[in-house]
Symmetry: C2
Subunit: 270 residues, 2 copies
Amino acid sequence: MSNESAIGVFDSGLGGLSAVRELARLLPHENIIYFGDTGRVPYGSKSRETIRKYTAQDASFLLSHGVKAILAACGTVSSNALECIEALTDIPVFGVVEDAAREAYAASKTKRIGIIGTQATVNSGIFKRKIESIDVRATVLQCACPLFVPLVEYGFTAEGDEITRLACERYLAPFRGEVDTLVLGCTHFPILEKAISAALPGVTLINPASEAARAVAKTLFENGLLSARKGRGEIRYFVSDEPARFNAEGKIFLGKDFAIDAKKIEIDKF
Amino acid sequence: MSNESAIGVFDSGLGGLSAVRELARLLPHENIIYFGDTGRVPYGSKSRETIRKYTAQDASFLLSHGVKAILAACGTVSSNALECIEALTDIPVFGVVEDAAREAYAASKTKRIGIIGTQATVNSGIFKRKIESIDVRATVLQCACPLFVPLVEYGFTAEGDEITRLACERYLAPFRGEVDTLVLGCTHFPILEKAISAALPGVTLINPASEAARAVAKTLFENGLLSARKGRGEIRYFVSDEPARFNAEGKIFLGKDFAIDAKKIEIDKF
């Protein structure tokens, strides 16, 4: 492990690529290794125990590449299993909860904040605890929005899509008039940002992947761990299912400027 | 393996329980062992290679219990990996394609038949090939309806649910006026039967889990493999994630008369 080592990023599938995009923008000279557990996706509807087992395997894979930091770019992992990674290594470990909770608190004027995520993220209650640990008088409302993940993955993302609009209305109704800030606590949800905003006009949306990427950049800089590389860093992608669908759909999260050529690995060997 | 051995049934998750219900109705004296791969669900959006690997493990687990027949109560497995089970054993192996295809052909007057399923099932083209092997002049139209699985699993199943109604309208529009019979090629889809019927009035719906259960009963009877048990058979449930959610949501598929107390196993050891 050295300054020239890669930053490791993983997610249950595609969503964490939004953090890769943000990292590559902030730290263009860094190498990045991404793992998407596409053979076992999704995590958000699975039990805490299974999420913890999968997380330890995902982190072990990244550690086998000698990464210098790990970002769990997945709300479900960050909420249920971050300490399973910290138990494996001394390098800096980041999730998508801590910084998003702080940013949500800072952004909120009324200190009434909403959290949306997968069932596992909401069950964990971690966003609520983090915000209340900043200010015990803050009010945090939570709601699981499990259908948002398949709506993104199965292409219900066109602007004004009526099914997505209705799903947003139904899930987000409890927040209307109740919060001024909403944390998009799952890396898929920023893809539905416009539809979520339309259902909750005037509410500030917090994107945890962006906040986490900023925290990674700050920590590497402060600890003198940035690469001295001059040219653009290399991004390598690994997945646990066949790569075809990941290569094609990754563009939803990464944007058109990234070429993805993922390699398949056997994650249950880690 | 004897006449008193159990019938093995498996699925990627909950859906195959609809076949268990039908088997228990047709063959009340038989023991049944069910495995739901809830730790890796869903299969339908994963690659053929991964589906085949998981299928072989699922079947190996059932074979370790000495079952006398195996029913792959999953459209995705039946379409992509049935021969992976047949390669492991000489006992009778059933999927949910063969008999549903035959029944759909028999039920159709116009010989214009629709198929809906997961992306993997539709990609395999197996329903189309089976029906065309009965009658090369039959017309088979296919459409993947991936959102139907999460709509069932996340509870969008109330009669008249507007989101489910719109999803049915959008996915099923290509069939309107084109087919007189539709195969519900995924074990989740019969839960949405009323909404599907409302989008395609007058079209005959074929439920492959029921057809497959009938085929199992017929084969065991014809081969003298039925149990001589007098009382009700025992049904045992195994899963690869924590059982809590499976125990609770299994009732969607099994009905209220069944008590479910599933046991967790490590499927990647098989």
